[in-house]
């Protein structure tokens, strides 16, 4: 029997649209080996290596897991998002979705939901693994309360940066550049390596980077300290990068 093609248009409920978009974004992410490497294999490898053998290299076993969590937030909110979105643009996915009831707000909310989900799973998995490997952080509840919103601010700023690259450059360029920025930010941006390890001259400059602000905030949290200056730094980056992303993003390639 052939289908009845009589028009019967209409949009589904907005929450369903956002949830379904988040679900398919997650499915695409988990099907991509390179993304899984960034999201889980590298952080888990670093954490296990650091907790088992870090003493030989002077790694602090209290702050190192917090550094790895900062790295996980960086990889999911920036690198994965930039690469995925760039290829969505290249493959015409965004163009196709523009002509569906999924609004741009829905699409961004769906992406945010997928990113938050993957980041939450990463942080939870890394926390459990670190605890199993002997990590014993002891932050006062108030420090936790004022520090974790910084993770949301950092993820937002990283996501905006990712969308600037994804919305402006060729997908293959984004693939290379996002991985390069990931490494530079992780190794030289104060994300994994504490600011105290850098020379005095570069420390104030690095402290202005969102990567350093997140890394220091989480390392401070692990030792029970509140890194207040991360708020103005991350807040300013959020505002600037949101403005640039709104101006720079193109939906078609």
């Amino acid at each position: 029997m052939s289908l009845d093609l009589t028009p019967r248009p209409g949009a589904s409920d907005r929450r369903d649209r956002i949830a379904q978009h988040a679900r398919i974004e997650l499915a695409m992410l988990l099907r991509n080996g390179e993304q899984l490497l960034l999201a889980f294999v590298i952080p888990v490898g670093l954490l296990v290596g650091g907790m088992l053998f870090g003493d030989r290299f002077g790694l602090d076993r209290t702050t190192f897991p917090a550094s790895v969590m900062a790295l996980a937030v960086w990889s999911s909110s920036f690198t994965s998002l930039a690469i995925n979105t760039a290829f969505e643009r290249r493959y015409g996915v965004l163009e196709r979705l523009a002509a569906t009831p999924l609004t741009r707000g829905d699409l961004i909310a769906g992406k945010a939901q997928a990113t938050i989900t993957i980041t939450a799973v990463q942080v939870l998995a890394l926390t459990l693994l670190a605890l199993a490997l002997g990590w014993r952080p002891n932050p006062p509840p108030m420090v936790s309360l004022v520090t974790w919103p910084l993770v949301v601010l950092a993820a937002f700023a990283f996501a905006c940066l990712g969308l600037v690259l994804a919305g402006r450059l060729e997908a293959t360029v984004v693939l290379g550049l996002a991985n390069l920025v990931y490494l530079v930010g992780a190794a030289g941006g104060g994300l994994v390596v504490p600011l105290s390890s850098y020379q005095d001259a570069v420390r104030p400059v690095l402290a202005l980077l969102p990567t350093a602000a997140l890394g220091e905030a989480l390392r401070g949290w692990a030792t029970g300290q509140f890194t207040w200056w991360a708020y103005p730094v991350l807040g300013a980056w959020c505002l600037v990068l949101l403005f640039v992303a709104r101006k720079a993003f193109r939906w078609t390639s």
Partner: protein, 251 residues
């Protein structure tokens, strides 16, 4: 019908449709300093198949991007089913088959159709639609491993899964073999007969002749000629009319 180039379109005996599904009025757009659309004016009626014919690079895909709100014209106006392009009201009522791939490389066709169906309130059953279009056999194959023709069928299914009132098909049969091409034509006719308006872009003269209730001939971002196939082919074949009124594509 008068031959020869002119700035304003020749509407033959066909007046603009009063309650058009799609209406473009004096739409102009420049991209990267180059004028792509040049006071483009045409319309498409509800329940009819309208073909937009033109050489490569004449602005057909840019026109479609304006109609879906992806691009905003520098001047002029566009109304789609009475709504602004890209507005939630328009997006819920319009189905688009883009010329480019339009899918994640790793997505499976069945999965993509179920996802797209979830965005609409009364969609077609994805499995039934897949069966209707002959997609079932490769519904679990990742999109990147499909042939060009199979990808086209998935894109077509994606355009109509929300039971749209108006369907925009950007070169719907490019890359299809004659069997699938004919069945796609049949599906487009059934959409029209069921009451949906259809706008299709094509280079294929036979496709326009077979399907279109109305043809607009486009060149260098503007309409140069319009009418029914019968009106346009009174003195010459559609291909000869096309060649007489358009420049070589991407020239």
């Amino acid at each position: 019908m008068r031959l020869g180039r002119r700035r304003r379109p020749d509407f033959c005996e066909t007046d603009p449709v009063p309650d058009a599904s799609l209406k473009l009025d004096q739409v102009s757009l420049a991209l990267g300093g180059r004028r792509i659309l040049n006071e483009l004016t045409f319309d498409a009626a509800p329940g009819l198949i309208t073909a937009l014919l033109g050489p490569n690079g004449c602005g057909k895909t840019t026109t479609i991007r304006c109609c879906t709100g992806l691009l905003v014209p520098d001047s002029g106006s566009i109304s789609i089913l009475g709504f602004a392009p890209g507005s939630p009201d328009a997006a819920a009522r319009v189905g688009l088959m883009p010329q480019s791939t339009g899918a994640w490389s790793g997505v499976r066709p069945g999965e993509l159709l179920r996802y797209l169906a979830s965005l609409y309130s009364h969609p077609h059953d994805p499995d039934a639609l897949a069966a209707e279009l002959g997609i079932t056999g490769f519904a679990k194959t990742p999109y990147r491993r499909l042939s060009g023709g199979q990808q086209q069928l998935v894109n077509l299914a994606g355009a109509i899964i929300g039971r749209p009132e108006f369907v925009v098909l950007d070169e719907p049969t490019a890359g299809l073999d004659p069997h699938v091409r004919r069945s796609t034509w049949d599906l487009i006719r059934r959409l029209r007969d069921a009451g949906a308006g259809v706008l299709l872009t094509t280079h294929a003269m036979d496709e326009a002749e077979q399907l279109a209730d109305h043809v607009w001939l486009m060149d260098a971002g503007r309409i140069v000629l319009g009418g029914t196939v019968a009106e346009l082919t009174r003195e010459a074949s559609l291909e000869e009319v096309f060649l007489a009124h358009t420049k070589r594509g991407d020239a």
